[in-house]
Symmetry: C2
């Protein structure tokens, strides 16, 4: 249970596996944190599929001053807005101005009148088909941060993860994006494939990683053959689980970088956890690219703060 | 239980998921068939990990005339010869003459003196690391069939499956090979990934298949992005499970064909089940290559027959 606070509003990043709630003060600083189950546990019917009860359980102590006449604003992003989530928030098509998300929020019907809950929509693309949900808020945070530093947000942004997103940002708008299944494939291969016998639990050989990034980046067609070769090397030379883990990760990320069709000298912005950003920075460095890393949680909060500010400006809520 | 027969010898194709035994007459024709559990069930300890008991249960009725002084010859290939199998049969390195497998058989220690059991070794490669076990026998069958038709076996041979093998054969020897994890990735993606929600059970859209083969063949770096796009298309346009299944299969096979680095005009020989050979023939045709298909079971039996003939010639057994 989180401590009693009187936040100005509540920011919520509600993904597939976790819900993270933040008590925000009037300046946009984090006063407190709480967490709960992700969408998949709730959508699967645990806790009666009751997203509202799950949220209230996490943030009840932050609602001391909230009442029906002055409800607590909750701004959420992520899979909570999917069809299997709490309330469907739809998709905005590309090109999409990242500062405009606050104008397309879905208001969530609630039973507890102390809440005024909103969900940020996802972004969709038709050619080729693609969708994002959650990353658009991180991209809005990135655009806001660039803008307040006096730059026009632009360039290639990579958000590594289970489904890694690569977005082209031009003049503050997302114009095109793609999704590589790198993280999900890594999990499937290391946990459920024949390669599961070959990999170490946690340790990863850095040289095997870099070598494999280069191999797959320069010849992505070799990907699945090179993956099987990891197994064969284990059989023929004895296991080195850290080397196997480094190779599988490096091959998948190297193929992802090849798919991103980077231009020589292009600067890449990474948004994610420090660990993932470090792995992707190392991978990019192995093939001659440099990257700046931004913390994923900070970008979510910045993006949700932008959306909240838009709600206030539009007089939809009282700050 | 199989019917009582007096075969000349017994051929066994013992893979990961199935054991297939054949009662062979003196001319090399199949007199009868029997089956049993594959290596993985036995290696996992079911039936007491007793490969010999499992074989005897399947072929007992074929052993009426076998005795310790004149045992029944059983020639086996496949994962039964792996470290987790009945008896390890080792690997022969490339380049390896396909007519020479019979000289490197592992004789299996047996409790039942009515049996004289042998396992064909696998083939290994160091640069890059790769292994095959089972396919070498099909390749030996292919080489024997080519030889008896007056041709020198040569060219590219593809053996599609869970782990698809691509072998270069020159003057009757396997000189190089690679393994694409196409079948295993297809199963992982359609059963355990986010794409599992999108695919139909059995039906496959032929046009989506061919289009996707071409897309991945010409740009294999797009593979994992194109896979996620299947999911996104389902979300945005409504499901068409047959189209999704065709796209996933086509993308994986197209990327495999790109990895095979085919030369324009190259003739490919396919060895496998009729269904897999048809899918690969269609895929090759979609990118401008033609293929001849050989039945996988026929090639195993032809290869095992060659090995048996070598045993007889070497007087290791009496025909």
């Amino acid at each position: 249970m989180s401590e009693a606070l009187n936040p100005s509003w509540i920011a919520v990043d509600w993904g597939t596996t976790h819900m993270r709630a933040y008590a925000m003060d009037v300046s946009g600083a984090v006063m407190g944190r709480a967490g709960g189950p992700g969408m998949s546990a709730l959508a699967a019917g645990q806790m009666g599929s009751d997203f509202e009860a799950s949220l209230l359980e996490a943030v009840a102590v932050w609602l001391d001053t909230a009442r029906a006449s002055d409800p607590m604003v909750v701004v959420m992003c992520g899979m909570v807005g999917s069809r299997q989530g709490w309330h469907e928030a739809g998709y905005l098509p590309v090109p999409q101005t990242l500062s405009g998300l606050g104008e397309a929020l879905a208001q969530v019907p609630v039973r507890d009148a102390r809440l005024a809950a909103f969900i940020v929509p996802g972004i969709s693309q038709i050619d080729p088909y693609d969708v994002m949900r959650g990353e658009e808020t991180q991209l809005a945070g990135y655009a806001a941060q660039m803008g307040s530093a006096g730059s026009t947000p632009g360039g290639r942004v990579c958000l590594p993860g289970t489904h890694a997103k690569w977005a082209r940002v031009q003049a503050g708008a997302i114009t095109h994006f793609s999704t590589a299944m790198t993280g999900e494939l890594f999990d499937l291969l290391t946990e459920h494939s024949i390669l599961a016998h070959s990999v170490a639990d946690e340790v990863m050989d850095a040289e095997a990683f870099s070598d494999s990034v280069r191999a797959a980046f320069h010849d992505p067609a070799c990907l699945t053959e090179a993956l099987f070769s990891v197994r064969a090397e284990g059989l023929l030379t004895g296991q080195d689980g850290a080397r196997a883990r480094g190779r599988i990760s490096g091959l998948l990320i190297g193929a992802e970088l090849a798919g991103a069709k980077l231009t020589t000298g292009e600067e890449i912005t990474l948004i994610g956890t420090p660990e993932l950003c470090r792995a992707y920075s190392d991978a990019l460095a192995a093939v001659g690219f440099s990257a700046q890393a931004l913390d994923g949680e900070a970008m979510v909060l910045r993006g949700l703060s932008e959306v909240y500010a838009q709600l206030v400006r539009r007089n939809m809520v009282v700050a």
